[in-house]
Amino acid sequence: MNPLTTPVGVSHFMAVGAVMFVCGVVCMAAKRNALGVLMGIELVLNGANINFVAMSSPFLSAHGRGGLGLDGQFIALFVIVLAAAEAAVALAITLNFYNNHATIDVDRADELRG
């Protein structure tokens, strides 16, 4: 079956979302740069957003009915706005940490270790 001649569905979108989610999780876990961790968070939120939008689309499921309707797009919009807010605060914290410690290595941020 040629994938280019058959219509795509929610599953394909969710596979893309899963790949972006996993990339974000690995980015958060493996990067030592604090800004790299931030970029991982953005990737995770985007993977979730792809799932929400795909579930809300009426063109992708078998019965021509989106499972979430327009609610998925509302949630996706809220996620985008919250990601912007989160990036602003996290960047401010990162800059503060950089000003105080002259490094952005997250492994060096161990002052709160018990």
Partner: protein, 222 residues
């Protein structure tokens, strides 16, 4: 030879760009290149939103994410990318753990996405054939309505997309997003004020405010 479904073609194009550059964000060690790859990946994600029929969300993705959040991130990169912080290598043991984690997550998530037959696409699952949906491959759906008006009205408390769904007595309490919209706008204001307060440049002061007694202050003032 069937005709190429251009919806599927552009989906695979955008999906390839989005996933490939997301993987390159993970594999790259240079923070500046990571920011660039992330920009392209999020732009391709906006293309995926357009393909799913969410035109307003795709436009917001381009404007807020690619135009706002990533500019913020790039500013952070420029302010901190000095000398040893441009490229910070991950240790080998971390890579092995990350590879195990990612392989496990992918092996769980991707097959799970393909288990529901309704999600396999219009005409993809066998349910669709039972219900008489043609699987010609062309013309996925009729032309979509623009979603910006229903979304905007839903944020104001009127769900024009659900008017026919509910009985009359439930319409007064119909689920709308006025309260979350207000909460999120106040939240955004508070967060941005807090971020500006956190990131302001502080002058180094030798005397902490707790050390200054009121009598000292009174002596300085004329």
């Amino acid at each position: 030879m069937e005709a190429i479904n251009w919806h599927s073609f552009f989906f695979f194009l955008f999906a390839l760009v989005a996933c490939g550059l997301a993987v390159m964000v993970v594999l790259s060690a240079n923070i500046v290149r990571m920011a660039f790859y992330l920009t392209i990946s999020l732009g391709a994600t906006a293309g995926l939103f357009f393909l799913a029929g969410a035109d307003f969300v795709g436009a917001m993705q381009l404007m807020i994410y690619v135009g706002g959040t990533l500019v913020l991130l790039v500013f952070g990169v420029m302010l901190t990318a000095q000398g040893p912080f441009v490229s910070m290598k991950t240790r080998g043991g971390d890579w092995i753990l990350a590879a195990i984690l990612s392989a496990t997550l992918l092996a769980m998530l991707v097959p799970a996405a393909f288990t529901v037959p309704e999600w396999l696409g219009p005409g993809g699952g066998h349910h669709a054939a039972e219900h008489g949906v043609t699987s010609t491959g062309s013309a996925v759906a009729p032309l979509s309505q623009p979603t910006s008006t229903p979304l905007g009205l839903g944020l104001l408390g009127v769900r024009v997309d659900k008017l026919g769904d509910q009985p009359e007595e439930l319409k007064a309490g119909m689920a709308s997003y006025l309260l979350p919209f207000e909460i999120i706008s106040v939240h955004l204001l508070v967060v941005l004020v807090g971020a500006a307060y956190l990131a302001r440049t502080k002058r180094r002061r030798d005397v902490r405010p707790s050390d200054v007694r009121p009598s000292d202050v009174r002596l300085e003032s004329p």
